[in-house]
C-alpha cells in the first residue's frame, strides 16, 4: 500500500479524571466552604501577592479541584496569608484555611514533596 506519511496521533485530551484528588479531598474534609467558591476572582483582584506576581487564588482553587497538585505546590507558598481575600469573597469561602491546609497537606503527609 502507498504510504502517504499519515498516522494516528495519540489523543491530546487532558484526562482530569486520572488526576490525584487526594489534596483537594484532604482540604474539603476540613474546610467544606471551598465547595462554595464560584471562581469569581474577587480574591485574586484583592490579593497582596497578586500585586507583585501573577499569583491568583482563584487559579489555585481551580487547579486544586482539578488535581493539578504539582502546579499548586509550586504556587501556593507565595500566599502571605494576609486575609484580604476572605474579606472580599462574596461566597464566604474561608480562603486562608484553604491555603493553610494545602500547605499542610504537602508538608505533613507522607508521599508529597514540598
Amino acid at each position: 500500500m502507498e504510504k502517504f506519511g499519515f498516522s494516528l496521533t495519540k489523543a491530546r485530551v487532558i484526562d482530569y479524571d486520572a488526576n490525584d484528588r487526594s489534596i483537594v479531598s484532604y482540604i474539603l474534609e476540613r474546610e467544606p466552604s471551598l465547595n462554595l467558591c464560584i471562581e469569581c476572582g474577587c480574591c485574586s483582584a484583592a490579593c497582596t501577592t497578586g500585586n507583585f506576581t501573577g499569583f491568583s487564588l482563584r487559579e489555585i482553587h481551580i487547579l486544586l479541584k482539578r488535581g493539578e497538585n504539582d502546579l499548586v505546590r509550586q504556587k501556593i507558598r507565595k500566599c502571605m496569608l494576609c486575609g484580604k481575600c476572605i474579606l472580599v469573597c462574596p461566597r464566604g469561602v474561608n480562603t486562608r484555611n484553604v491555603v493553610f491546609l494545602a500547605k499542610q497537606a504537602f508538608t505533613k503527609n507522607e508521599g508529597y514533596e514540598f
Binding site: S33, V93, T107, K108
Partner: protein
Amino acid sequence: MNFDPFIIPFNIGLYFILIYAVVRSVIWFRELSRPDKLRLQRGFFGKAFGQSLKEIFLESLIHRKILKSNPRLGYMHMSLAFGWFLLILFGTIEADIFGERHLNPPYKAIFFKFFSPDHGKTFFEASYAFLMDLILAFILSGLVLAVTKRFFSRVVGMKKTTKLKPLDKVALTSLWLIFPSRLIAESLTSGAYGTGSFLTGNLGAALASFLPANELAYPFWWLYSLSLGTFFVLLPLTRYLHIPTELFLIFMRNSGIRTGDKPGSFSEVEVHSCSSCGMCIDVCQLGFSAGIHTIQATYLMKGIRNSDYIHDIAHNCLMCGRCDQICPVGIEISPIRMIVRRIEENDRVYENSWNGYFRNRLNVPAPKQDNKPSYDFLPAPVSKKADVLYFAGCMTHLTPSIKKAMVKILDASGLNWSFIDEDGGACCGRPLMLAGNDREARELINFNSQLIWKSGAHTLVTSCPICYKVFRESYYLDVEVLHHSQFIKNLIDEGLVNMNFLQKRVTYHTPCELGRRSGVYEEPKEVIRHVATLEPTGYDDENSLCCGGSLGNIMLSHDKRRGIAEDVTARLTANDPDSLITACPLCKKTLAQATSTRVVDIAELVAEAIADAPALKKNPSRHKKKVVRESAASL
C-alpha cells in the same frame, strides 16, 4: 495513744506527695534555660521572694482575683483553700499546745481529736475547739457550694463548668469526702466524750443520743484518712496538681521568667497550674456568640496535659486575649497557644508523635522543608527619604477611606512624610506568625525592615493594629512605631492640626490587637473626645470585645464570624450612637457588615473634623492665604 493503723493511708499519701513534689521541682528546675535558672536563683534571695509569698497568700489562698470578678465562686475557692490552710495551721498549733508533747508528726495534728478525745473541757481548750469548728464550718460551706456548682453551675454565677475525666472524678470524690468524714468522725468522738464545740459538739451529742458513737467513730476516722490518702496519691495524676504547681509558678513568674516562644519548664508549669476554674470559658466570645464550647483555654491546658490531639483547639481561637486577661492564675494562655501552633507547623507527622509533646517536641525530626524562600518575587526594596513613614498595611488598602483620611491628616500636619506601601506593599508578617509560619514571616519582616531602614525615618505610623504589634515586637527597628491614633494624639498635643468639634455622640470599639495586645487604650479615646462626645459601652478597655474578624483564627467559618460581629455591634450600639468608632481597618470592615450604624475609623473621624484642609489644592486663593499665614508666622 500514739499510733493507730487507720493513719497509714494518710501517711502513705502525704509522704508520696512530698517526695513527688521534690522530684518534680528538681526536674523542672533542671529543664530551665540557663538565664532562667539564674533568674529563679536570684528571685529566691531577693525582693521577689516576699512578693511571691504575698501573691501566694492573696491568690492561692484568698483567691482575690476570682473573688473580685465573681464573689460567690471566689468564696467557694477561698473557703476550701484558705480554710484548709487554717485548719492545718491551727491544727498543728493545737496539737503542739495541747498534745502530749511538742513537735508532733503531721498525722497527730490532722487526727488530733482521735488521739486526744477528751480534749476541750477547760475554758481555754473549749474556745480553741470553737475556733476549729468555725474553720471547719467555713470549709463545709464552700464545699456545699462546690457540690452544687458541679450539678448546677449557675449557683456560683457561672454559665458553664468544666468537664472532667474519670480519674479527676475519683480525686474529686475523695476531696469532697475529706471534710464531711472529718466532721462526722470528730462529732461522733466528741459525742462519746462529751466534748466539741458548736458544730462537732452539738452534732455529736445529737448522734450519740441514739447511736453507739464510740464504735461508729472509728470507721469514719478510717474514711477520713483514706480520702486524704487517696486525694494525695491521685494529686499528681489529676487536675489537682495545680495546687502545688501554682506555688512554683508564682515563684518563677516573680523571678521574671516568661513563657517565650519555645516549650519549656515554665510553660509546662503554667499548663499544670490551671485550676480548671472555668473563668476563661465564660468570657470567650466563641462560646457565647458562636456556640463553640470546646476550644477555651481550660481545654487547651487539659489537652496539653493529657497529650491529646489539639490541632483544632490551638487554631480555632480568635487570639483576642480575653481569657489571658481574666485567668486568675495568670497563665499566659495565648503565648502557650502560639507555641502549640508553631510546634505543629514545624513538625511533619503530628498524629503519632504527639505524646508528651512539651518534653519531646524539640527532639522530633524537622518537617519536610527545603528552606527555599517563599517570597523571592518581592522586588529589591527602594524607599524615599522622609522623616515620617506611613505604612497602611493590607487591611487599610481594602478600606480606602481610612487611607485617604490618613493622607489628609499627614498632609495637614505639614511633616515630611512618605507612603511606603502606596501601591500596595508586602504583608507585615503577623498573619503568618499567627498561623505558626514564623520562617515565612521572617522573609516579609526582612523585606519591610529594609524599606524602613533605607528611608532614614525616625517615626513609623501604621493604621493597622496588627501591623503595629508586629512592628513593635518582632521587627528590629530603630524608629518610633506609632499607631495612627497615637500619632494623631501627638499632632493634637503639639498643635499641628486644627479640628472642629463635631456634634456627634459616638461609642468606641477597642481593637484587640491595639488594646489588650499592645496596651494602647487611652490615646484613641482622647482623640475621639477631642472631636466628638464619647459614650461608654460597658465593654471598654480590658473588657473590650473582639469584632470576630480576627486573623488569629484560621478555622472560623464566615457565618460564625458574622454572628460574633452582629452580637458585638448590638452591644456596642445599644444606646444608638451616631457612629461606632474603631481604630482598625479589619474591625471596621467586619463590624460595618453587621450593623446599620455607621462604622468609622478614628482617622476618618479626625479627617472629617480637620478644619479646611481639603480645599487647599482646589482653591488657590485659600492656598495663598495659607502662604501668607506662614510668612506671618516666620516674621
